[in-house]
């Protein structure tokens, strides 16, 4: 855990672009807000592994978003239920339901559909917001943090030595 945290801090403070970190956070949101064992999550995971997003940020964000999911899931289920039972969409759903490939996506599951819709809608705002926060952090907070006694204390700790060794 310390290692992951150290890597994250390294990523946050390294040359990794704010977009790579923000994309990892946004991708983690999709996995966190939908049931883990869903085929779309395999695609999200593939993207996270193949595209150079920051994996430490991805894993940490996944943990963070998963906690948030406990509170968001009821809302997601509600969204999914409303969509799946919306009279105007019935023909679409029925047509999709006849195709085995689509059915294995579990689109007819309220949490899968609701969570996916909520996370996709939130994807761009989360990406932009997290990118903004990373930039702001590097510009303003980092220098101020380094001046704090706690930062000085941490720099003398074992964790910091670990961080230093990873950061090279």
């Amino acid at each position: 855990m310390l290692s992951v945290l150290a890597k994250l801090l390294k990523a946050l403070n390294s040359d990794a672009s704010p977009s790579q970190i923000s994309l990892a956070v946004s991708l983690a949101l999709i996995i966190a807000l939908t049931p883990f064992f869903s085929w779309h999550n395999a695609i999200v995971l593939l993207i996270a592994l193949v595209v150079r997003v920051n994996l430490s940020a991805f894993l940490l964000a996944l943990a963070g978003w998963s906690v948030l999911a406990w509170f968001v899931d009821p809302f997601s289920i509600n969204v999914g239920t409303k969509l799946l039972t919306a009279p105007g969409l019935q023909e679409t759903w029925v047509a999709m339901y006849q195709i085995d490939f689509l059915r294995i996506t579990k689109f007819n599951h309220t949490l899968v559909l609701g969570g996916l819709v909520v996370s996709l809608i939130a994807f761009i705002p989360v990406f932009l917001l997290s990118r903004f926060l990373v930039v702001q952090y590097r510009a303003k907070v980092l220098a101020w943090v380094e001046r704090l006694w706690i930062a000085k204390f941490l720099k003398g700790s074992k964790f910091y030595r670990l961080y230093q060794s990873i950061a090279g």
Partner: protein, 603 residues
């Protein structure tokens, strides 16, 4: 652009999914084996064992070999076993965790086979309760006939009491009569009286003096008569009273056996009421066992017929609510629904002791509402040794609430072989039976009815008990009968009724047998009671005749004394007139005779 691609990430992805798939392929077999054994044993209540289970790739599926399902009731036997089962799985549903078996084929399926080791599993022990006799058995127990000696030994008999009363009456009256008879003059005394009176009355009275003397002698004798007359009168009265009392006691004694017999007959009511539902006794046990087995397995599989259509499931779901909301599937109309688990089709040929049967199962799932079709099981056979044609159709329809499970059964020309009936060692050795049955279960309530027509029936055997023995004899004459059975109420405890024209036939035959037996018993009772009567009467059976003779003798004596007492000494003048008159008549006769002789001479 390529600076954004991380190629080793692709390798990691392939490794993750490849590893996962490989693990599934390798672990699926052992996991399936473990699951079948653990869950099967839990559901069955006795060991379920599998030799091996493995994933097959062409076609994709699961192969299970050497499955044995132990019988909970008989752990050294298997309810069923098969050599090999191959389940063809559909890939697409499997990718989202749904086990849909397109076709299940089973080889070497057998029912009721022996095991090498016990299939029992440890369970909390229930206290063994002694088996209580059924109501019918209790009722029939009352039909048992005790012997005549047993009945008489246990009964307070009027015959015994009347015998004692008769003996006492006889003894007391005999003492009184004997005492009175001692005072009665005997025949020699009466003869002496007669001679004496004759001597007095036949003496010649020549003078008034003679007359007076004879009369005085006669009066003296008459005076002695009075005492004897009084003694005879008293003895006569004693005899009369004794005769009346003894007669009454004797009548009561003679009537007593009849009264005893009537009372015993009433008390030991011998009728066939207890045998009014003999069919239930004879066939109920076997039918009950079969029905109990069927209901046992129904109760076992019932929870898996539908996982979501009853209140209990809803309650359970409420209690098992996960911490994180889980969501649910919304199913849309389709020709190819995917429940979580489904057996689309299976046709199995199974061996049973009487031959082979074919079992076809369609659409077996615990989510019938998702599938939208009821589960169907068809059993048929035309190759059984003792059944010409067997058809059973089970439909578990839980596509709507409430669910409805139904059974239709038709058996043509079943020829039972040594079918053991529920009493003694009576067996149905031959018959041709046609069976039709329907059963429905909805909301836990069972409504079932069945008819069995028996023809060319042949029974053998009887039993040690009276009922079984007599029943065996009664059944021997019955060739045709039918049985109608109904069951209603909760599945776990239905009210079962069995009726049959066999009851009326048996009741009639049984009543005849009972009547004959009753007559035999009554005859024995009569003999026993008459023996008691004879014993009570002893040598005094002719007492009344004896007393009548005594009374007759006393009457004769009394009459004789009266006659003697009425004898009188003729009056002297009257005697003279009588003598003169007799003399004139003699002279007239003499003259008439002379005159006749003269007239004869003239002609």
């Amino acid at each position: 652009m390529f600076s954004w691609i991380r190629w080793w990430g692709l390798i990691v992805f392939v490794v993750i999914f490849g590893g996962g798939t490989a693990f599934f392929m390798l672990a699926a077999g052992p996991l399936a084996k473990l699951s079948i054994e653990k869950i099967g044993t839990m559901v069955n209540g006795a060991l379920v064992e599998v030799d091996s289970a493995a994933v097959t790739f062409n076609p994709l599926g699961l192969k299970v070999t050497g499955l044995q399902v132990a019988d909970e009731a008989q752990p050294m036997r298997n309810v069923l076993e098969f050599k090999q089962a191959v389940a063809e799985l559909e890939l697409a549903p499997l990718l989202i965790g749904k086990g849909i078996i397109r076709e299940l084929s089973i080889d070497g399926m057998e029912f009721d086979t022996p095991r090498k080791t016990s299939g029992a599993v440890e369970k909390p022990k229930d206290e063994a309760k002694p088996k209580e006799p059924s109501a019918i058995e209790s009722a029939l127990a009352d039909v048992e006939l005790p012997s005549a000696k047993e009945i008489l030994a246990n009964e307070s008999l009027t015959t015994d009491d009347a015998g004692v009363a008769f003996k006492e009456s006889y003894a007391s009256n005999k003492a009184i009569i004997d005492e009175k008879l001692d005072a009665v003059p005997d025949e020699s005394a009466l003869k002496a009286y007669e001679d004496e009176i004759k001597a007095i009355t036949s003496a010649n009275i020549n003078s008034v003096e003679d007359f007076r003397r004879s009369k005085a002698q006669l009066d003296k004798v008459k005076e002695r008569f009075k005492q004897d007359q009084a003694a005879i009168t008293e003895a006569r009265a004693a005899v009369k009273q004794g005769k009346e009392e003894i007669s009454t006691a004797l009548k009561e004694l003679k009537d007593a056996p009849g009264k005893d017999l009537a009372r015993i007959r009433n008390k030991y009511q011998l009728n066939a009421d207890g045998a009014s539902n003999l069919t239930a006794t004879l066939f109920g046990s076997e039918a009950g066992d079969t029905a109990a087995k069927a209901l046992y397995w129904y109760e076992k599989i019932k929870p898996y017929l539908s996982s979501s259509d009853d209140e209990e499931s809803a309650e359970t779901k409420k209690e098992m609510k996960p911490l994180r909301a889980a969501g649910s599937y919304i199913h849309f109309p389709t020709d190819n629904p995917w429940p979580t688990a489904l057996l689309r089709h299976s046709y199995v040929t199974a061996s049973v002791p009487a031959g082979t049967i074919g079992i076809e199962a369609k659409d077996i799932t615990h989510q019938p509402k998702v599938l939208g079709r009821p589960a169907v099981v068809n059993v048929e056979s035309t190759a059984l040794e003792n059944i010409e044609d067997l058809k059973a159709n089970l439909v578990f329809d839980h596509t709507k609430s409430p669910g409805n499970d139904s059974l239709k059964l038709k058996i043509t020309n079943w020829q039972p072989d040594d079918f053991k009936l529920g009493m003694g060692d009576i067996k149905l050795t031959s018959a041709k039976v046609q069976i039709k049955a329907d059963a429905n279960v909805s909301r836990g309530n069972l409504v079932a009815k069945g008819d069995a027509d028996f023809g060319q029936a042949g029974f053998v055997g009887g039993g040690k008990t009276f009922v079984a023995k007599e029943l065996g004899l009664a059944l021997a004459n019955i060739k045709e009968f039918n049985i109608h059975a109904e069951a209603k109420g909760k599945v776990a405890k239905p009210r079962v009724s069995i009726s049959s024209d066999l009851d009326s036939q048996l009741s009639k035959a049984f009543n005849q047998r009972l009547k004959a037996k009753q007559d035999e018993l009554e005859q024995q009772l009569k003999q026993e009671l008459n023996a008691k009567l004879e014993n009570a009467l002893g040598e005094h059976a002719g007492i009344l005749e004896e007393l009548n003779n005594v009374e007759g003798g006393l009457d004769a004596k009394l009459n004789k004394l009266k006659d003697l007492a009425s004898s009188e000494v003729d009056d002297f003048k009257e005697q003279q007139k009588q003598e003169a008159k007799e003399k004139v008549e003699e002279e007239k006769d003499e003259l008439r005779s002379k005159a006749k002789d003269k007239f004869k001479k003239l002609f």
